[in-house]
């Protein structure tokens, strides 16, 4: 039994090391916000302060960068979510070679380094449309790969969709637009929300692509990176701390909603199985039999 205990101990040590490696750096970064030292550090600890939040609050360029990031993110949501939706609707109905080819083309931006997406976008739009770097080009460049994330989310949701619902509505005389608006879109609504959420996060955090297409506009990540290189104070830590807190709140909300969704799907499935077992003849929609996938 000692071998078993030794193995358990080893696993525990590994888990502690792994999560320590994951969280200690973030903890140190957060703690440095409250140190009075002008350079962000936790050693030596010179005393507790909340002053760096005030310094951050009075930093006008930070607010401007935040504004730029939010405008870009809104633009990316407006472009990438509908694009991803259209792509998923198309792929869902295609089969064979055409689908594989188009699918590979669509996910290729996810396997391309971000700097290359930025560079190719910069060159293309300047040469053909005389559009140089700035907010518009940043939206275009980011959307080119964020649309692929949105497409994957919609495609996953569409796998659970029961196309007979559409067929039935069409047979009963609904127009295609009515079917889309009343059946397909409501079913996809959770995916629309998660796609918008992912698009926002991806855009807000993007650095590599933005770096090449931003022109003279500065987004928040670009601003943070430039601050670290020149003029670093714990105000940057205060900003990081706020962003981390918001991110955690966002991630927790997203997770809770996703789990509720999964639980609901599971409950529906269980109910359908019960009804089937009790033999009252209600046909089980194919969608309910497929287990929920994130």
């Amino acid at each position: 039994m000692t071998a078993e205990r030794f193995r358990r101990l080893l696993v525990t040590v590994y888990l502690v090391l792994f999560f320590g490696y994951l969280f200690i750096p973030l903890g140190i970064m957060a703690a440095a916000t409250f140190n009075t030292s002008r350079f962000p550090t936790v050693t030596p600890w010179l005393g507790f302060t909340l002053d760096w939040f005030r310094v951050l609050y009075e930093d006008h360029r930070m607010w401007q960068a935040l504004g730029t990031s939010l405008v870009v993110a809104a633009g990316v949501i407006a472009v990438a979510v509908p694009t991803g939706l259209a792509a998923a609707l198309l792929l869902d109905r295609l089969h064979s070679r055409a689908r594989t080819f188009l699918y590979a083309l669509m996910v290729s931006p996810l396997l391309t380094p971000g700097v290359i997406i930025g560079i190719s976008t910069l060159i293309f739009w300047r040469t053909w449309f005389d559009l140089s770097g700035g907010i518009v080009l940043t939206v275009i460049a980011q959307s080119s790969f964020i649309a692929a994330y949105a497409m994957l989310l919609f495609l996953a949701r569409l796998q659970r969709f029961d196309p007979t619902l559409e067929e039935a509505a069409l047979d009963l005389g609904a127009t295609h637009l009515q079917v889309f608006r009343r059946i397909t879109l409501p079913f996809l609504m959770p995916a629309v929300l998660s796609a918008a959420f992912i698009a926002f996060l991806q855009s807000f955090e993007n650095y590599n692509t933005t770096l090449f297409v931003r022109g003279l506009d500065t987004t928040l990540t670009v601003y943070i990176a430039s601050k670290v290189r020149t003029g670093l104070t714990p105000a940057v830590n205060a900003l990081s701390l706020i962003l981390i807190a918001l991110t955690i709140a966002g991630a927790v909300t997203y997770e809770v909603l996703r789990r509720r969704d999964a639980r609901r799907a599971l409950a529906e499935q269980a109910r359908a199985e019960r009804e089937e077992a009790s033999g009252d003849g209600a046909p089980v929609p194919a969608a309910a039999r497929v287990p929920a996938r994130a």
Binding site: L26, L177, L211, I244
Partner: protein, 293 residues
């Protein structure tokens, strides 16, 4: 195509096709083609673009061969990214296996949550955290001097820090694909192997690893691509002696002002990443459909 038309009707189909075409053609394919076209032309002042000197040439690609500093940085970027990938896999594989096969089911959501949270936090911030730790008067130096491992603080800025920072930044791109692959492995297979007397090393080598192949391939591809294409980590954690290939590309664009040259270097980076994808597919014997999931 008739299936699409039948399902969505002419108006909606037209709209869908238009949007998808705009995306794929204008945002994905044409920019790449133009970047390649750009890389094959010499840099000329605007007045002479399209003139007799504007011919296709490989000169921009030859620069990488003749400039030994750039070539050195390029080679360094390759091996360092490969090292980042290997270390990340070694760090993540046990975690992925633990989560997929060992961890009690009721604790799984908590573990997932703990993994997902740093994953949501921006790469710049994750790197900035290490910047603070590795600073000259930072906590790591203080710790190492304090317990007597070092006599005096060390300047960590350099290739080692960059690699460490990248492993940290990309760890989760490896954990999740490998976890997903191992999760689908039937636990009975492991138990059967154990009952038949296989040791744990043999179980992993003959059963778990082969099953996890597609996940490992995806994780390695993502990690390598992110590492080779990273700009933030070398910017924050590298010293003057440890430049990354992306920094060279950036300088061609915004300091050297030679976009054609920069485009050639960018395309070389893209070819490197595609080459790595093909290598992984061959090495792990997985197809494109396994990867593009």
């Amino acid at each position: 195509m008739t299936g699409v038309l039948h399902r969505y009707g002419p108006v909606l189909t037209g709209f869908i096709v238009l949007v998808v075409a705009l995306w794929v053609v204008m945002l994905v394919v044409l920019p790449q083609i133009l970047m390649i076209d750009f890389s094959l032309r010499p840099m000329l002042p605007p007045s002479r673009v399209g003139g007799p000197e504007d011919v296709y040439t490989l000169a921009n690609y030859m620069t990488l061969w003749t400039n030994t500093i750039h070539l050195g940085i390029f080679v360094k970027t390759i091996w360092a990214s490969a090292l980042v990938t290997a270390v990340t896999l070694a760090v993540c594989y046990p975690m992925a296996f633990y989560l997929a096969q060992v961890a009690p089911k009721r604790r799984l959501p908590t573990f997932m949550m703990l993994l997902v949270i740093p994953f949501w936090i921006n790469e710049i911030l994750r790197t900035f955290a290490w910047y603070i730790i590795l600073a000259y008067s930072g906590p790591l130096n203080n710790l190492l001097v304090g317990i007597g491992i070092l006599d005096a603080p060390v300047r960590f800025q350099g290739d080692g820090s960059v690699i460490l920072g990248m492993v940290y930044a990309y760890i989760l791109f490896m954990v999740f694909p490998v976890y997903n692959a191992i999760e689908s492995l039937d636990r009975h297979q492991i138990e059967a192997a154990r009952d038949l007397g296989a040791g744990w090393l043999r179980i992993h080598w003959r059963i778990v690893l082969p099953h996890a192949r597609p996940g490992i391939a995806v994780g390695c591809i993502m990690t390598f691509m992110l590492a080779a294409g990273s700009y933030a980590v070398p910017l924050l954690l590298g010293g003057p002696q440890s430049r990354w290939f992306t920094e060279v590309i950036y300088n061609w664009f915004f300091e050297g002002g030679n976009w054609n040259q920069g485009a050639a270097y960018a395309f070389i980076l893209l070819v490197l990443c595609i080459g790595f994808i093909l290598l992984m597919m061959r090495l792990f014997r997985v197809g494109l459909t396994d990867i593009a999931k």
